[in-house]
Symmetry: C2
């Protein structure tokens, strides 16, 4: 029997299937779907921000005006007017011909992995990084190498030290998942130049960039060097995730292969959804809508910060203050493990994601095991207050000798 | 410079990217989008069959009743009630837990390839076969081996001769793309038994099975041996392709890996679309709707057969009479090439797909070069009449010494 045989079946798995394993987060999320659980775990946008009425109007309009085209097969590149709109929205000059509409930005990660990663290829990632990216890269069997960060982002010196043979550096510069951290403008300049010197392309993932609270984040790294970057964007956070619409912007040298991978993966993203999104984006809808999301998430971040300040006093817990996005990053006192704490927290009706899940490479160290990700966007302010009280109680209990 | 370097860029392509190339059919389709071209080329369902009013009602209902859930992230497995409905629709006992909703059945092919194919793995396919499957398999770098057919389907003897080490046999038993051919019940029995004896699993793709004209096709091969088969289905032909909704049914031993691959590929198929499809499928909608599609396509097939009979007399062209589906398969007289004929046909305002595109493996032989695929579902009856007149004129001209 070969190692990948499935016993008592005729099936043999590909070697890469050994890298495909259930997401820790998904397993946790299943628990948190129980009624009565306050979840700081999922990365679910607040459903109160979904423009339901606008989608209803857009759906009726698209089906009335152009139902046959909206329901037919369509070009793998995406709906032309939507690609033009995307190009016009981006803060550097983008030719719509470089825009590929994807089935969520998660698909962009899958396509990038297929086109750029051989088994054993080196991929550089932040420490910690987005779990979904690690899952998208894993089937292509790369060697994932974490690069060191400080509070301003990835260290250019560590990038240079690890650059040799790297196929790309994967970055979430704005309100990162999981840490909520944003890369400073100076660090972007420095890192972009270091990457160019070292010959390392960058895959820049920006699902949260529009969700700033006080001021917009610095310009994308792609704007600094479009030929050396693939940019991934999403409508999941500014419109709604349930449409599964994202996009990528790729240099002309790479676009045809990414397009071909897209065509083989699902022919095209739903034409109906693309036309609906395009209809909703008409005029200045986002200019009116996104500020409301920002204000809501800012108030929820503030509520969580205030609750942490109030409830965690004297417990030795640390946390950051994200300038936007959906996540706050916290650290338990020495000796505690977020993974061990989780079932106790769930028993008290509150859930989070242990930070260890987001660390690539070898087993997480003691420092990583103390971290946790808290989403402040799904729960309401009263739920946030009650959830942090419960979390503090669990920590207090765990600290007892 | 390594072979996969993109010159003057920092990018290095994965080895598999060499297998990703533009679809011949897509390049042809671009030409046929010119106004005034009658296209027998694309596999586009007739837009007159799209249930636009039902989708409009379903969309309004879903957004009104449950907009927040329809627009939110959702489970990778798919929308529970839709999975139950799919299981109940299939003609053998299927547990909804074995149903995975996919972003079109094309994504099912991508997931199957990721989970089952290593570089060099042997995959058995019909001669000719669906081009989109060849494209979905290609990035995983398999060795694709065509198996011989007669008019009843794949020859069990040739399957057995080529079975050694095959990861699976890929089949479209009903109204196949591109040939329109249907596998007989006796051949299904024989082939299913031969595959089980030889230890070769089957991936059964059935997008066209509901589009029968006189009587339903024989039961799927999967019904004969569910543990040894993955079944792929689609809503593109009975509802509309623009929603990108398909599904697969997998044995329990394989389901978790396919689910994991799905999650990494695009998290989940659009929740909104799944709920819309589920709403449209309520009650006996398909029982009323699909017979209308069958009647339309049957009348268009009959029109094409009559036009061929009328216009091709004495030209040495042969064709089959499909019992359902969307495609008819024709063969030019010896000495002619369908590929050479295409630009001349387009000049006269008619397009088709040269059959050579659908042959896996080495360069197509002289026999394959004479074949062409004619879709009878997109063009209207008057367009079919005029298109076949034009095609006959081109063939007549090409036969002149």
């Amino acid at each position: 029997m070969k190692p990948n045989d499935l016993p008592s079946t005729p099936w043999v798995l590909a070697r890469r299937a050994a890298r495909m394993n259930p997401s820790v987060i998904r397993e946790i999320l299943k628990v948190t779907e129980r009624p009565g659980i306050t979840s700081f775990a999922g990365g679910l946008p607040s459903p109160t921000t979904f423009p339901v009425a606008e989608f209803a109007a857009a759906s009726a309009q698209v089906l009335h005006d152009d139902g046959a085209a909206a329901l037919q097969y369509a070009a793998s590149e995406g709906f032309g007017p939507l690609r033009e709109r995307i190009a016009a929205m981006l803060p550097w000059p983008v030719d719509p011909a470089q825009v590929l509409v994807t089935t969520g930005s998660q698909q962009g990660l899958d396509l990038v992995a297929k086109v750029l990663l051989d088994p054993g290829s080196r991929v550089l990632v932040e420490t910690p990084t987005y779990l979904g990216a690690l899952q998208a890269f894993a089937p292509m069997e790369p060697e994932v190498v974490p690069v060191a960060n400080d509070e301003h982002g990835v260290l250019a010196s560590d990038l240079e030290a690890k650059a040799s043979g790297a196929r790309f550096l994967y970055l979430l510069p704005n309100f990162q998942n999981p840490t909520g951290r944003t890369m400073s403008a100076a660090r972007r300049d420095e890192l972009s130049q270091a990457a160019q010197r070292a010959g390392v392309p960058i895959v820049e993932d920006n699902p949260y960039g529009d969700l700033w609270f006080d001021q917009p984040p610095p310009a994308p790294l792609t704007a600094r060097n479009p030929q050396g970057c693939i940019y991934l964007g999403s409508f999941s956070k500014v419109l709604a995730p349930g449409l599964r619409l994202g996009f990528l912007v790729a240099p002309p040298a790479l676009y045809p292969k990414l397009l071909q991978a897209k065509q083989a993966a699902d022919l095209h993203s739903p034409s109906f959804n693309q036309r609906m999104a395009h209809a909703v984006l008409q005029g200045d809808f986002l200019d009116r809508h996104v500020p409301r999301i920002r204000a809501l998430y800012r108030s929820q971040r503030d509520a969580m910060l205030a609750a942490l300040q109030r409830e965690m006093a004297g417990l030795g817990v640390e946390w950051n203050k994200p300038d936007g996005g959906m996540f706050l990053w916290a650290r338990l006192p020495r000796g505690l493990s977020a993974l061990d704490l989780l079932p106790k927290a769930v028993d008290r009706g509150v859930a989070f994601v242990p930070g260890a899940a987001f660390y690539a490479g070898d087993a997480p160290d003691a420092d990583a095991l103390r971290t946790l990700r808290l989403s402040f966007v799904t729960a309401t302010v009263p739920q946030i207050d009650a959830g942090i009280v419960a979390l503090a109680a669990v920590i207090r209990e765990a600290r007892r000798p």
